[in-house]
């Protein structure tokens, strides 16, 4: 896997952790150092945020080459109510599909 992809996911994790916890992490180091990555992945999963857990799983796969065990969500989703979600919510953008690496060293 390319370093750019790791850095992209690490940057997304960094944004959410900073926004939700006010915690700043070292994006570059996260993409490089296995020990640091394990700690941040563990911290990310502990927040019980779906998007953050998703990025943590993806980063784990990229760094360690294994598929992460998906943690059980804190709240069971009642499928009967889940079907009543608005169409807009269902079309939420999958941010992992955005190639943020194009913004490394360039804007355009």
């Amino acid at each position: 896997m390319s370093d750019n992809e790791k850095i992209s996911i690490a940057a997304l994790i960094s944004v959410i952790l900073r926004r939700k916890l006010g915690r700043t992490i070292d994006v570059q180091w996260l993409a490089k150092d296995a020990t640091y990555a394990r700690e941040i992945i563990k911290l990310s999963r502990a927040q019980n945020l779906d998007d953050l857990t998703g990025y943590a799983n993806k980063l784990e796969t990229l760094i360690f080459g294994v598929t992460a065990a998906v943690t059980k969500p804190a709240v069971e989703v009642n499928r009967n109510f889940a079907d009543t979600k608005l169409a807009d919510e269902e079309e939420e953008i999958d941010e992992t599909k955005i190639d943020v690496s194009k913004y490394i060293g360039h804007l355009r």
């Binding site: 850095i7 992209s8 940057a11 700043t24 994006v27 570059q28 943020v100 690496s101 194009k102 913004y103 490394i104 060293g105 360039h106 804007l107 355009r108």
Partner: protein, 395 residues
Amino acid sequence: MLAATALVLLMTIPGLVLFYSGMVRKKNVLSTALQSFVICCLVTIIWVAIGYSIAFTPGVSPFLGSFDQVMLSGLSYVKETSQVSVSHIAPTIPESVFVMFQMTFAIITPALIVGAFAERMRFTAMLLFMGLWSIFVYSPIAHCVWEPSGFFASKGVLDFAGGTVVHINAGIAGLVCAYKLGPRRGYGKIPLIPYNLIYTLMGASFLWVGWFGFNAGSAVASDGRAGMAMLVTQTATAVATMTWMFIELAVKKRITMLGCASGAVAGLVAITPASGFVGVNGSIYIGLAAGIFCYWGATGLKSILGADDALDVFGIHGIGGLVGAILTGVFAEKALSGLDANVWMQTAAAFGTLVYSGIMTYIILVIVNFFVDLRVDAEEEEDGLDISQHSERVH
């Protein structure tokens, strides 16, 4: 002229404010917006106090106007006798309107530089730099190019609405600022993700509409030449946008919104010096060249130069200005203006401005750095300028 003046002001507030704010990271949005907004106020005061006099009065030297109109001395309107003062450059409109119209150009030029040092310059240093730059760089160059006794104007150099005075000038100043301040933390290593590109498209749209005041208004009359300037502005912009779009599709296999907005601004920049001198055919070629060269300026040339010109001020305004200034010499039609163009004089004026502005910008930065650190410290940069400089956040 009143409407044209308001349109040019609209280019800075809110045009440039939105255009730039959308491209920086979330933690620097307010700071970037505020810089352009405050420059508007700062330059207004400087222009009235001394800038206009330096730029638009005949001077003892072809490089500098006189100080006869400091604090707009001599500007008057007497209702009883219906007497109004006029400038020798624009005798058909009140001087108050000419002062205002030119003030809006003086405002947007330094505001353009903000994009080059975005996300890392200390606000107080920025204020000091912009004040000095407006007096010692913008006004003398405006005098050289636009005042009939100015060095370049007297040699027949054509710059209808500011390709040299505004865009080459701001572009090279931005590049020098980017070198002097150094790259942002993480530049070239981590993605520096734009906050909200729809702001950028809105800003580009304001710029496009406002540019009709910039170019057509520079005819200083509501006549056939103004109409031609408006028409060629539209065609060059459309062609440049399409050109950028197809280059992007060919090179990156994607058409991006930011690319289209950038192509539009590139076309607007390049047609600026030519707008009162070229016909529709010329504008199409200029738009085509602007799309090609400015795309290269913001990508390939940017890599070669190695400076962290954050929002590609040199790549688009510097290169677009050079393309427009030189091609004005190629495509100018005597029937439209009654003037002959010389491509070599156009080139000399463009590169002369590049050299003067570049050197003076560097000197001003050194002087400002002596009094105030140009750059925020590492922790302040990491926190973002919104918090560290203004104790505010976007939401």
